[in-house]
Symmetry: C2
Subunit: 341 residues, 2 copies
Amino acid sequence: MELSERKMIILQAIVRNYLETGEPVGSRTISKYTDLNLSSATIRNEMADLEEMGYIVQPHTSAGRIPTDAGYRVYVDTMMAEKDKEVEALKTNLLEKEERLDQLLKQTAKLLATNTNYASMVSAPSIHQNKLKLIQLSRVNDSQLLAVIVIEGNVIKNTLLDVSEQINEETVLKLNILLNTHLTGLSIEEINLKLISSLKTQAGIHSDIVGDVIDAVAKAIHDEDDLEIYTSGTNNIFKYPELTDSNAASELIGAFEEKQALSELVVKTLSESEETGIQVYIGNESPVSTMKDCSIVTATYDLGDGMKGTIGIIGPKRMDYEKVVDNLKDVMRQLDSIYKK
Amino acid sequence: MELSERKMIILQAIVRNYLETGEPVGSRTISKYTDLNLSSATIRNEMADLEEMGYIVQPHTSAGRIPTDAGYRVYVDTMMAEKDKEVEALKTNLLEKEERLDQLLKQTAKLLATNTNYASMVSAPSIHQNKLKLIQLSRVNDSQLLAVIVIEGNVIKNTLLDVSEQINEETVLKLNILLNTHLTGLSIEEINLKLISSLKTQAGIHSDIVGDVIDAVAKAIHDEDDLEIYTSGTNNIFKYPELTDSNAASELIGAFEEKQALSELVVKTLSESEETGIQVYIGNESPVSTMKDCSIVTATYDLGDGMKGTIGIIGPKRMDYEKVVDNLKDVMRQLDSIYKK
DNA sequence: TGTTAGCACTCGCAATATATGAGTGCTAAC
DNA sequence: GTTAGCACTCATATATTGCGAGTGCTAACA
């Protein structure tokens, strides 16, 4: 069966209405809701077809229809209105410039949650292909070195190194100069074996330390399990009864706390991200099994220099997709621009 | 009226029984539950007294009794059994040694939540009275300085400073020596105005930078709102129906996410902490208004050098106080010892 | 004087019955 | 192709009932 123009209008009306009310929507409602001037009986026939095609279902025999995942999907892909007017209102909530990235992202998560009334997540940018900006070794005591590693984008990592040999201030100074001269501006891929052995040779008796430091650098840049994720508005899920039966809610809250699942979501999103940057996972499409009853909308932001991260909204399937997409787009734009000042 | 020996036994039996079952407990149950060999009628008389004295209430006319906050309080203060046997079992969950403090504390929170089945919180140690170990300035570019501040206990803070004047490597070197020579080993209280102005004089034309750096140091050491708090097992609250009505649950989850309330709790706990280190807040005694229906048990740990922090368990008022206290004591001991290796 | 058996009473809760009404599918007529 | 009409379904709301756990009180007992 084909999805005729009229069927689409009806489906759209059903979804719209359901998003608003959260109640199954009946034929009479649609008859009045649309400009089609059709009686409820006619609508009923069409709805029977739409049900057969898998876009809507009845929760029980004598109830109206609600959209299936497929129904939402068609809606999101082809029927969603662009309501750019909203963007105007969002502008007021411009992210205040934070000097620290983590603060900025925390705030971003909060902003998204407050504006949308759903739960939000923001991943810190992954910095895989990033360049070293500065290495700074300091002598803490006879057997410990503090290595501060600054990466493009002013991401700062600290590592405390235990060193076997005794070191003095002069050595530290020399090592600092050596390392910074040769490593600054390089990405982790460019720090290859040849370079390392050359450095070790130049470091002479301190070659062990050079090795340790480079390990630390590699770890700092690569740190997978350190993928920070900020969440906010977790308790917003209580605003949607369909997510609040004790069991599902508990699992959801757990997922937000553990962040493991979210982390997978981020990885997946980043790898799949397309031009527009916006992705919508509806119900079972979700990569996260605990969120089968939710919809997830994500966007990828780009701070430049390959520093990409994910922002996302998690809410009920009957979320206001337009609003969420607009919000994400707006925040995405703000983040994109913030570092390209 | 006086709380006779017999009344205490009955009260204890009521609390015990209620902790186990979560159901209001009736006179007949107590009659069988205790060794008093009294009929239910006699127990009823005693219970009427206990109710009059404010230790128990009936949720409704034809129900058994449940403890009031005051009832719990008496129980916790004077009737709680020491079941040290449990500690043996806990030993298996020894905290693995983590090199990073934040990881260790995260793990601590998780351990507590898993072991007790309640929600847990762990605050990072406050470092108010701590001593500066090392300041390290590095030149990032013409107008930015990176200040790395290491505090006793190897807590490391970074700050990026925007400086108005142009600086070169030599200046940075001089400043580093100046600052470290004079500030290392001092606590924030010891860095007074006189010392600051003396340093500024010595810094000559770079006195502005000195001021900025000292501000940064003060901020790093004092950073109140940076009081990190790790939580775990938030979703455990779903295991206790009395906390799970949508409204209360939402507020609780919110409090755990925001952490503002928890932060106040920590501050209060630290200021009130006594010898034993264990504190119990029952219901309305809680300093946090969103937790009026919970009990909170906290302990203060001490990593030495004035680095004190709080660990805590939040659960329903009918929590297993013995188990919780034992768990906290055990973890407290483990934390206390871990840095005094 | 403290303890106990007995009894009427309360009230939450679960089970059952009843009514309501929104919504459907189908058929026959337009 | 569209529509009015009608019998039918079924979730939800409301009232009715019975049950039972538990109480307070009284009177008898040791």
